[in-house]
Every structure is written in structure tokens, then in C-alpha cells.
């Protein structure tokens, strides 16, 4: 096993291993291996996963210099590269609307590119050239700060499984048709594309992440959806739209997701769902739903509470629940609809699998306490309920505690953890 001291034991490893090793190096170091020995001269030139970022060039005081250097680096590298390129990542703050990127994309489109990540700097948006839309084998596409405008002949990426568009300037109907024309799409992320009214038709979609100012979201054909995370921001426009909306958003959104396992909603999402909500004539069940996280829920709005209840009651296998209150509520003295909890609340509902509950940003609003009471009373397997008061609540903490202590618990294992000073 021990050969002579001078024997080289790495250069003869199969190219696939060498490529694995070189891919785990920053690109500069990978290129530098070319001066190690004869065998290493061009080992770097056939790696199929390229990741260019600002570290590829020496940092410079002058931004223009850095830009030029990076452009040259990438161009030269691509020119000397040999063989297919499967993954190309360009993540830089130096380049924005640089014309050379068009050429690189043209080059890549001829190289069977499968994964493309383009993350450009602030400033003028880079307009994605039409050659990108000819990449047949594209399975993963991530664009940050670009302008996306497919040619009219574009028929979709037939292999695309993962799509992530952040701060991308794109027309709403383009987004919709793009989603529909990618039949294998499994994961979709849309951030900060303005004021979209979005209808999602994606029969294979499993993961959906939306963030931004959405007027309307309709999940029309997403039977396989497993996880949803939505953060909805509000503008005056949208608020007005909400007021005049007549449809039941809950059903539009959560009407066709039987495989849903995880639901996360931020900011105005619960409010969005509450519009037109009527607890449903025919309840829609979510048998696989295990985790619900809803943030910025306004416990003064009965309708939002109804949304949560509707979700909980129809999810027999729910295990984890995180609710975060809306911290701009003042502890209201008068509280409408309080009798709901006695009258209409389904009292025979058992949350059979609920184990963990986290209530954060609690402002000691009466509805909150009633809700907690409801949970405690109907969760026989509950293990942990942690409650964190909002930082604005100063005097109300003691009252909260007093009320909490009184509440009946259906589960003998349940621990109630009151988190006081959360930094």
C-alpha cells in the first residue's frame, strides 16, 4: 500500500471525482490548479458547474475596474472552457445591465445548460435576451433584478422544475402563461413583482412561495401542492380591491390543495383569506396539513379568527400551530362578537394531533385569550404551549397570566410556557 514517497495519488482519480473536488473550490482556486503539474493543466476546464461571483476578482476601489475585471474573467473562462455546462451561477453586485451577459447567455444556451442563476446588482434592470428562452434543458431558473420578456414564439420550458423570480420586471399575464407552459414545474417562488393578480395553474407544483403586493391569488389547478408560504403586502390600491371583492378568497386559494402539509402566511395573508369567508357550506378537509404558521393576525377582526378556526377544524392531523398577533392592536376595552365563543364555536371539535402551539406577539386582547382557551380545551395530546406577549404590553402581562392559569387543559402533559423577556 505504501508506494514511493514521490508517488502522486490524486491526479489519477477519475475525472468525476476531480470535478467534484474542483466544484467545491471557489472558481479562482479551481483555475489555479492548472499550474500544479502536467496532468492538472486542464482538469479545471471541463467542470460542468460554474459559479461566478464577486470573489472571482480582486476587490478594487474603483467599481468600474471591478466590473471590467469580472467581465474579462468570465469571458475568458467561458472561452477556454471545454465541454458542456450544466450549472451556471452569476451572483454579482458589480454588473447590472452589462452587454456581455447577453453573449454569455448565448454561449450557455448552446451548452445544454440545466441550471441558471442570475443575480445582478442594483440599478438598471438587465433585460434577459431571447436566447435564454431557447434553453430546452433548463430545469432550474433563478433571476434576480432582471427584466423578463419572452418572445411571442416562446412555448415554455418543458423541463423546468424550479422557478424563482425576485424583483423581476414581468407582465402578469406573462407570469401566468409561463407557469402554465412549464408542465413539470415543482417549485415556484415569486418575490416583489408588483401588484399581480395571479392565477396559478401548475399540475405538478409542490412548493409555492409568494411575496409582494398581490391583488388576488387564485390556485386554480394545483392538486399536488405540499407547502405554501405567502407574504402579502398592502397598498391603497390593494386595500380598495379587497373592499370591493365579492368572491370567497379562502376557497379560491385553499380550495384545491388536498395534499397540503404546510401553510405559512405573513402580513396580510390572513386578512386576505378572511375576505368573503363564510366558514364554508361544505367543509374542505386538509388531511395532510401538519403545520400552520400565520403571522400578523389581527385578533380584533373576528373574520380573521374565523379563518384560523376554519383551518384548524378541518385539519385533523394538525401537529404544530404558530400564531403571531398583530402588534399594533391596543388592548381594546370593548370587544365585539365575544359571544361567538360561547354560542357558535364548535365545541365538540377535537384537535387530535396538536402537539405544539406557539402564540407570539400577544397583546392580551380578549379574543386571544378565548382562542387560547379553545385550544387548550380541545387538544388532548398537547405537549407545549408557549406564549410570548408583545413588547408593547407592559401592564397587561399579569392579567394574562392570571387568566391563563385558570384555563382548563384537555391534555395532562401540556406545558404552558410564558416567555417574558424575549430579546
Amino acid at each position: 500500500m505504501d508506494s514511493a514517497f514521490g508517488h502522486d495519488f490524486i491526479s489519477d482519480l477519475p475525472q468525476s471525482i476531480i470535478e467534484t473536488i474542483l466544484t467545491k473550490l471557489p472558481l479562482r482556486d479551481a483555475v489555479r490548479t492548472s499550474i500544479l503539474s502536467t496532468k492538472w493543466r486542464y482538469k479545471w476546464a471541463t467542470i460542468t458547474q460554474l459559479a461566478f461571483d464577486d470573489k472571482c476578482v480582486t476587490p478594487s476601489h474603483d467599481r468600474a475596474v471591478a466590473e471590467i475585471n469580472l467581465v474579462k474573467f468570465v469571458s475568458r473562462f467561458l472561452f477556454l472552457h471545454d465541454g458542456p455546462i450544466h450549472k451556471f451561477t452569476l451572483s454579482t453586485s458589480y454588473l447590472q445591465n452589462t452587454p456581455e451577459i447577453d453573449q454569455w447567455l448565448l454561449f450557455l444556451s448552446r451548452k445544454d445548460i440545466k441550471q441558471l442563476v442570475l443575480e445582478l446588482g442594483e440599478g438598471e434592470l438587465f433585460r434577459v435576451p431571447s436566447c435564454l428562452f431557447t434553453c430546452r434543458m433548463l430545469a432550474r431558473l433563478e433571476l434576480v433584478r432582471c427584466e423578463f420578456d419572452p418572445p411571442p414564439t416562446f412555448r415554455g420550458f418543458l423541463s423546468l422544475k424550479y422557478l424563482n423570480l425576485q424583483q423581476v420586471l414581468v407582465a402578469p399575464e406573462v407570469v401566468e402563461s409561463l407557469i402554465s407552459s412549464c408542465p413539470l414545474l415543482e417549485s415556484l417562488t415569486l418575490s416583489y413583482s408588483d401588484s399581480l393578480a395571479l392565477t396559478v395553474r401548475a399540475p405538478n407544483l409542490k412548493y409555492l412561495i409568494l411575496e409582494g403586493e398581490f391583488k388576488d391569488i387564485c390556485l386554480e389547478n394545483t392538486p399536488l401542492l405540499v407547502a405554501i408560504s405567502v407574504a402579502m403586502y398592502m397598498t391603497d390600491d390593494i386595500a380598495e380591491h379587497f373592499e370591493h371583492s365579492s368572491s370567497c378568497n379562502f376557497e379560491k386559494f385553499l380550495g384545491g390543495v388536498p395534499c397540503l402539509e404546510r401553510l405559512i402566511g405573513h402580513i396580510y395573508f390572513t386578512k386576505y383569506l378572511s375576505i368573503g369567508n363564510d366558514l364554508g357550506k361544505v367543509p374542505i378537509m386538509y388531511p395532510r396539513l401538519k403545520v400552520i404558521e400565520l403571522y400578523q393576525v389581527s385578533f380584533e377582526d373576528m373574520k380573521e379568527i374565523l379563518v384560523i378556526l376554519r383551518l384548524i377544524v378541518n385539519s385533523p392531523n394538525l401537529q404544530e400551530l404558530h400564531i403571531s398577533g398583530s402588534s399594533n392592536t391596543s388592548a381594546a376595552t370593548e370587544c365585539p362578537d365575544l359571544e361567538f365563543w360561547e354560542m357558535e364555536c364548535p365545541s365538540d371539535c377535537t384537535l387530535g394531533q396538536l402537539k405544539t402551539v406557539k402564540m407570539t406577539d400577544m397583546s392580551a386582547v380578549p379574543h386571544e385569550m378565548k382562542f387560547i382557551r379553545f385550544l387548550l380545551g380541545n387538544s388532548p395530546l398537547l405537549e407545549v404551549m408557549s406564549i410570548t406577549p408583545s413588547i408593547y404590553v407592559t401592564d397587561g402581562k399579569l392579567n394574562m397570566l392570571v387568566e391563563l392559569v385558570r384555563l382548563r387543559r384537555a391534555s395532562s402533559q401540556a406545558e404552558i410556557i410564558f416567555i417574558q423577556d424575549q430579546i
Partner: protein, 423 residues
């Protein structure tokens, strides 16, 4: 398995009922392993499905790259990881300890794991090997892996493609070119050695950036792109190249030309250089800013003088450069100063011009020795002064000029300091 009576079976605990399989390594040695451990390797799993391995007579033949030592390591790894109850933290810490072995074994392990298709182990070991390469100098890497330093003289002296734009590689290339030249001209008497220490401890980057006005870069082929978009190329046999300068939005004008080659050299020539530098310290190179004159003329001139005919020089508009830009190649003057470019025809300088140049040369030297920022300030202010300076004879041959040598030695000394590891 041994024949058992019913009574035996009832007494025997489940662990003993574990099935074992037989593995055979390339050296024909057999090993018996618990099936659940071995099936963690996809290769072995497939073989078992084919029906192999159940008895001593039909062992699974492992690929040749797996020797008994690495096999036992791999089985240890499998034995740990196939247990499902472990936390990620546990696994990570086991992995960290696991890969602590000498480099040779690590390479063998990677190879063996790859042949058994055990991807997680390949990734783990590859990452460890990558860590040994990242950030290290070539010598260190060669030592770690026992790589032969076997790039032939010619190959080494081939200019490296310098897409990292690493100044060290740039200087390394100049060094190689120098050596190449030397190899060709063996037998020529070498000049007297020189002592002298350049106390300049600025980084190479800084200095070169300044020379280039912070805006042009050069690569090993001698292709320098100036901010004006000019391409300066080293001619065949390193005879001539031009130095251009541009101001404002005017077209660039060449102001001097000098024969060049990649000048930075190792120890022997260093001494030569130093002496020359010493002599000429007081007459450093100049860089004068020039107003535009007819650029096409200059281009033609250069073409006439070009040696190998592969000289490309074109002017283009400078965009918004208010700072006078000194664009120069890094190719320092050939040590064999006596060899004049045969095609060179611009030997004569009018004395007046020479004076101007000398003055500017002194200026330049002074500036080189002052602080970077001060320099920039000066340049900016000087720009106003110099603008009106007319130069009628824009092309000069500075082959024998002291400034060129000064520059050369300056850069050489810096390279010695910063590029010592490559020498």
C-alpha cells in the same frame, strides 16, 4: 445459516438472526458483514438484489479500487450512518472525526467510495480534499499530494491564461517569458550585477493600477485593454508595443513606443536589472498627458513598424475620462538592451522634446513615490495644467530610455517581494 430446531429459534434473540453477506476485495480476501450495514452502499445493494453475496462461495466482488483497508473504513462509515435515529449534529461530528486521516488514504477512500457509488461519502471526502487545495500556494499543494512539478520548461513558460487577473500570475508570466528568452539566447554574456533595494512597499496591485491609471489590465498574452478600449498587443518576438494615453473624450494618442518583452526575471537577471535601475533612478519614466492628435496616423505608423504583423492597435473614444490616463504594458524592457528592434525607425528625439520628457519623467518618479491619494489629487490638478501642452511627435522610442528600465526594475523588485513564492 446453520440448521436450527424450533426450540432454538424461540430462544434466539432477533439480533442473532441478522443476515450476513460476503464481500471479496480485489486481493481475493473475503469479509463477512452485516447485511444492513453493507446495503448502505448502492453497489452492494444492487449485487444483493442480483442474488450475490449470500454465501461464502458466491461473494460479492468489489471493484478494484476498494482494498481491505478502505473497505473497513467504508463499513465503519456505513455502520454509523445507517442507524436512522441519529441527529444531524451527531452525524456531522462523526464525519469531522472520520475524515481525519492522511491525504493518501483520503484519496484512496474517495476513489473506493466512488466505485461503490456511496455518494455522501464521496461528497464528504471531496470536500475535505477541496479544503486542502483552497487558498494554498502551488508548492504547498504539490507537497500535500506529492504532485510532480513536471511542467516542462516550455510548458511552464507558456503564458498562463490569467483570467483570475491575478497580478502574481501576470508577473509570473513575465518571469517565464524572460526565462524563455534567456533559453533562446544562451551563451550571451550577462551584464554586471547590481545591488539596490527598492523600498517601495506598496502592493503590486496599487502600483500597477496606478500605472494603468487604475483602468486597464493586462494579461499574459500581452493584451492590454485600456480604458479607451485600445488593445495593445505584444508583437512577435516582443519587439514593440505602444503606449497610449487618452484624456477626456479625445481619442487616444500614442506617445511613445518601446521595445519590450516580458521583463520580470528571476535571480540572475534581477541583479542586472537592479544595476540598471540604480543608474537610472534619477531619470525615471515620464508620462505626459497628450491631447489628441490624429490617431489614424499613429496607427499607421505602428503598423509599419510592427514586426510580426500581429499587432493590433485601434483607437476608440474614451468615455468621460477627465483624469489623464497612463496606459502602458507591463512588458518591461528586455535586459539585452543592445538588441534594437530592427524595424525601429524613430531613434531621434528633438532635444526640446527630450527635455520635456525628462521633466515629466522626474515628475512621474516623484509621484510614484508619494502617497496614492496624493497622486490622484495631483493627477487631477495636473490635468488642467497639462492639457494645452502640444506634442507634435507622439511616437517615441524609449528603448534606451532610462525610464523604461526604471519601471522594469521597479516592478521586478515588487515582484520579488510579493511573488517570491512563485520564483
Amino acid at each position: 445459516m446453520y440448521p436450527m430446531s424450533d426450540a432454538d429459534r424461540q430462544v434466539i434473540k432477533p439480533e442473532i438472526m441478522k443476515s450476513y453477506i460476503w464481500l471479496q476485495t480485489a486481493d481475493d480476501s473475503l469479509q463477512e458483514v452485516e447485511q444492513e450495514v453493507a446495503t448502505f452502499c448502492p453497489f452492494i445493494c444492487h449485487e444483493i438484489h442480483k442474488g450475490m453475496g449470500s454465501s461464502k462461495n458466491y461473494p460479492i466482488s468489489l471493484p478494484q479500487r476498494v482494498n481491505p483497508g478502505t473497505l473497513s473504513l467504508i463499513l465503519d462509515y456505513c455502520r454509523f450512518h445507517q442507524v436512522s435515529g441519529r441527529s444531524n449534529k451527531e452525524r456531522k461530528s462523526y464525519d469531522e472525526k472520520f475524515i481525519r486521516m492522511d491525504t493518501k488514504r483520503l484519496c484512496e477512500l474517495t476513489s473506493a467510495a466512488d466505485s461503490l457509488q456511496l455518494r455522501p461519502l464521496v461528497d464528504l471526502t471531496s470536500r475535505a480534499l477541496a479544503r486542502m487545495i483552497e487558498g494554498k500556494t502551488p508548492e504547498e499543494i504539490r507537497e500535500t499530494f506529492h504532485l510532480p512539478d513536471d511542467l516542462t520548461e516550455e510548458e511552464k513558460l507558456e503564458p498562463l491564461r490569467n483570467f483570475a487577473d491575478d497580478p502574481r500570475i501576470r508577473l509570473l508570466n513575465t518571469l517565464y517569458a524572460r526565462k524563455r528568452k534567456e533559453l533562446k539566447e544562451r551563451g550571451k554574456p550577462k551584464s554586471v550585477e547590481v545591488e539596490g533595494e527598492l523600498v517601495d512597499d506598496r502592493s503590486v496591485d496599487d502600483l500597477l493600477s496606478f500605472i494603468n491609471g487604475g483602468t486597464s489590465t493586462v494579461d499574459s498574452f500581452g493584451i492590454r485593454t485600456t480604458p479607451c478600449g485600445l488593445v495593445l498587443k505584444r508583437l512577435n518576438h516582443g519587439q514593440c508595443c505602444s503606449v497610449f494615453m487618452g484624456i477626456g473624450e479625445d481619442l487616444c494618442t500614442p506617445i511613445w513606443r518601446r521595445s519590450d518583452s516580458k521583463g520580470v526575471r528571476a535571480s540572475k537577471s534581477k541583479k542586472k536589472n537592479r544595476r540598471r535601475k540604480d543608474q537610472l533612478k534619477h531619470a525615471p519614466m515620464s508620462c505626459s498627458t497628450v491631447n489628441s492628435t490624429s490617431s489614424s496616423n499613429n496607427a499607421i505608423d505602428i503598423h509599419k513598424e510592427s514586426n510580426g504583423g500581429d499587432f493590433i492597435c485601434h483607437n476608440s473614444k474614451v468615455h468621460n475620462h477627465s483624469v489623464p490616463v497612463l496606459c502602458e504594458t507591463l512588458k518591461l524592457q528586455d535586459i539585452e538592451d543592445d538588441r534594437f528592434a530592427p524595424e525601429d525607425e524613430l531613434d531621434d528625439l528633438d532635444p526640446a522634446m527630450k527635455e520635456i520628457i525628462d521633466r515629466e519623467v522626474e515628475d512621474f518618479a516623484r509621484r510614484l513615490n508619494s502617497d496614492w491619494h496624493e497622486r490622484i489629487q495631483e493627477l487631477l490638478s495636473l490635468d488642467q495644467e497639462r492639457r494645452p501642452l502640444p506634442i507634435t511627435r507622439p511616437i517615441y522610442n524609449l528603448r534606451s530610455s532610462p525610464c523604461a528600465s526604471y519601471f522594469r526594475t521597479l516592478l521586478l523588485a515588487l515582484s520579488v517581494q510579493s511573488g517570491a513564492s512563485y520564483a
